[in-house]
């Protein structure tokens, strides 16, 4: 059963008009509709109920983790400074 607000990332393997074959990992391939996105072969898309709803950005995924670390480090630094002063 699908969860209806769940969307799963998959890699676009090939494209033909509004259909794409995508790889959910571990060899699970499925045809999805790509009308709603501008996806290229090699892109990661979020798939919801057989439709790609967004192209995922690898750059922004990297930046997310960087941002998390920055948040944590910045806080730690501030506290260190406070404890020194």
């Amino acid at each position: 059963m699908i969860r209806m607000c769940l969307a799963i990332p998959a890699k676009v393997v090939n494209l033909k008009e509004d259909k794409a074959k995508v790889d959910f990992g571990e060899g699970v391939l499925r045809e999805v509709n790509v009308t709603l996105v501008n996806a290229k072969v090699g892109d990661y898309v979020l798939v919801h109920a057989g439709y790609a709803i967004q192209v995922l950005s690898e750059k922004e995924a990297q930046e997310t983790i960087q941002l998390w670390n920055e948040i944590l480090d910045a806080e730690a630094e501030t506290q260190q400074k406070q404890s020194v002063s």
Binding site: I2, R3, M4, A7, L36, V37, A49, G50, I65
Partner: protein, 360 residues
Amino acid sequence: MIEKSRFRDPDLAKRVAEKIHKLAPKEGTVKICHVCGTHEWTITHYGIRSLLPQNVEVIAGPGCPVCIVPASEFDEAVQLALKGVVVTCFGDVLRVPGSTMSLLDAKAEGADIRVVYSIADAVRMAEKEPSKEFAFFAVGFETTAPSTAVEIMGKPPENLSFLVSHRLIPPAMKLLVEMEDLSLNGFIAPGHVSTIIGLKPYEIFPKVYGMPTVVAGFEPLDILIGVYMILKQLSENKPRLENEYVRAVHWEGNMKAQELMRKVFDTVDGNWRGLGTIPSSKLNLYKNFAVYDAHLKHEVKVEKGVDIQKGCRCHLVVIGKIRPTECPLFMKACTPQKPVGACMVSTEGTCRIWAKAQLS
């Protein structure tokens, strides 16, 4: 793509949890509401609540699209099926109680009801059997509605019509924030709905209601960081709209999807199961798509149904007023095997998620 494990890094999660404990107010409570079944699943499955300070509560709002469709619309689907129309639907919909019966009960009586993975499957089935009438029961929030719009714009076969039960999330969030006795302090906005609608529809929450609002993703760290960002806003007394889920959500959302939805659907006031009417919260087909409207084509209309079965407290669970464990039926008269309320049926229903995690 980055490995999922990076978003589930237990050491990072521990450090974020420590920050959350430091940021949490020393007095009073903070109540943060999310509105997505998948957020509830992540929170429950990974035990996020156990990592939070006692006075920081995360509650589940009406984020299960199957749970909030009123019984009258299930009754219409049952009527269609009993009339001989083949009803296609997502699996979650099958066992949800209508006023007197579910689609599964109708199936047991011989009605032709078929579960599909995608609306595209429903279109293919109708194409393959042109002598039969088909209806697709279109349930879902903004994440799902664009796929219905794509198929309707793609001129589906004449023997297929649609029972459109799509609902919109921001109007429901407005209902919650205006409920004084719920006393919310922040929203975790739904990530996948937001991939479609973008951030703008949430602007009113910080601006008009002073409510910190953070769009978050679905990994455990996404949610912990979301909670952290809300607590930070509260500690600074600067409520604002922030996006934690930048890898999937952009300010403008999915404009192609929005344009298709605007072409196909009119926004009208809609009834939500157990919650009453929420202004501008339901999508209806525009008149120029009337040939695809199952109500008109097959003359089915149920004005009022029985939304809440005797003793069921789904209407309080869906707005986070009570926890599933506070319902007297939870895991007694109401179980995943024999559900009484919609919240115990859907895999996105709070009761079902809690039952599966054995939080009884």
